[in-house]
Symmetry: C2
Subunit: 191 residues, 2 copies
DNA sequence: ACCCCACTGTTAGTGACTAACGTATGAGTG
DNA sequence: CACTCATACGTTAGTCACTAACAGTGGGGT
């Protein structure tokens, strides 16, 4: 609820032009209460990426496939699972997600934080790759491939927000991956 | 000079544990003077990426090559041109650059800002790609490929700082690109 | 009726950052 | 040498994000 008021105010008047106190007043609570639920002002907009979900799909992918295909496929599958919500409340959630994304893309501070949160996601994915990260050299390759996949996904997220969710998100991610790695990594299903 | 004092203090006691006032005192100036030369505390550590240099090499790359090869090649060439400094002062610069990088990797706030500055670099590179970004769809593919290349380079920079500059930076970047895109994009020279 | 506990509010304080204003140093010109 | 002007530096006061310590309030179980 606090978050909804915050995103609305930020969208209307700009992120930096709105103080936390104003968000608190709009939500009918004290500023301290806001900080108790959201550690920083930025967390009012940031969306927690489903690291668990993605990591599981990475771990479940066949280890024989190239790295970018394992990670890219997991990203497409996770996006499919998330945006594939049915009808009613899912649409509201998607509107809210798009609002947050637009703020993240247009506000430097939020953009920076979001990119850094992808850095944490990268760690989780590299761990999920497991056997491919034993030697320092293999870990380096795993990190490189993973960060490249996440960068492509970020581009897809940006485009998704720009065109207001017209194209399905999994398709955009697949196209971003294809543009970066060729068609080899774009095939999400791998069974 | 202010920057040198700042990086030394940050490395010794941690970025957040050092106030801007302390940096100013160590440098023998006022806090206001620090802010006049560095807009934010983070700018004391951030290194300006040579966007001009990279963009020129991207623009000069043959348009027939795949996107990731054009961008990746330009990144390797730019790194070669930069770290290829000769002997005396270049070594000091490289030590300083490594200190800054270590701080950037280990401090969340700096890491976030650095990732966002790569976002600006991405814009410059996409513009330099020129003809490949006329239609919205081509621009999307260009952004995806560019961001993936930059993410791979960031992984190489991180590794470079971790192993204290043992391996040559251009080679690390080439290996990160190869791990992501296959050997097609790793060939830096293209003449 | 009692206590416990999670949630909330108040106050005071730190630190990054800005704005407005006054001061000195150093180069160029008469 | 005096004058001037630009550039850099310092001081003060203020805003805002964020933290710590302490106090109040409401409902749930015994």
């Amino acid at each position: 609820m606090i978050q909804a008021h915050a995103v609305r105010l930020f969208t209307d008047r700009g992120y930096e032009a709105v103080t936390v106190t104003e968000v608190a007043e709009a939500a009918g609570v004290s500023a301290m209460t806001v900080y108790r639920h959201f550690p920083t002002k930025e967390d009012l907009v940031l969306i927690d990426q489903p690291a668990r979900l993605i990591a599981e799909r990475v771990a479940a992918s066949p280890a024989t496939h190239p790295l970018v295909r394992r990670v890219g496929g997991a990203l497409v599958e996770a996006a499919t699972a998330l945006t594939g919500g049915d009808g009613d409340e899912a649409a509201v959630n998607e509107r809210f997600l798009l609002d947050c994304l637009r703020l993240m893309v247009s506000t430097p501070a939020l953009r920076a934080r979001h990119l850094d949160s992808q850095y944490a996601l990268q760690q989780a994915i590299v761990d999920a790759l497991g056997d491919d990260a034993t030697t320092p050299d293999a870990a380096f390759r795993a990190r490189a491939a993973t960060s490249a996949c996440l960068a492509a996904m970020h581009t897809a997220l940006t485009r998704w927000a720009e065109e207001d969710g017209q194209t399905e998100l999994p398709e955009l991610i697949a196209r971003a991956l294809a543009a970066s790695f060729g068609d080899v990594a774009a095939t999400g299903r791998s069974d």
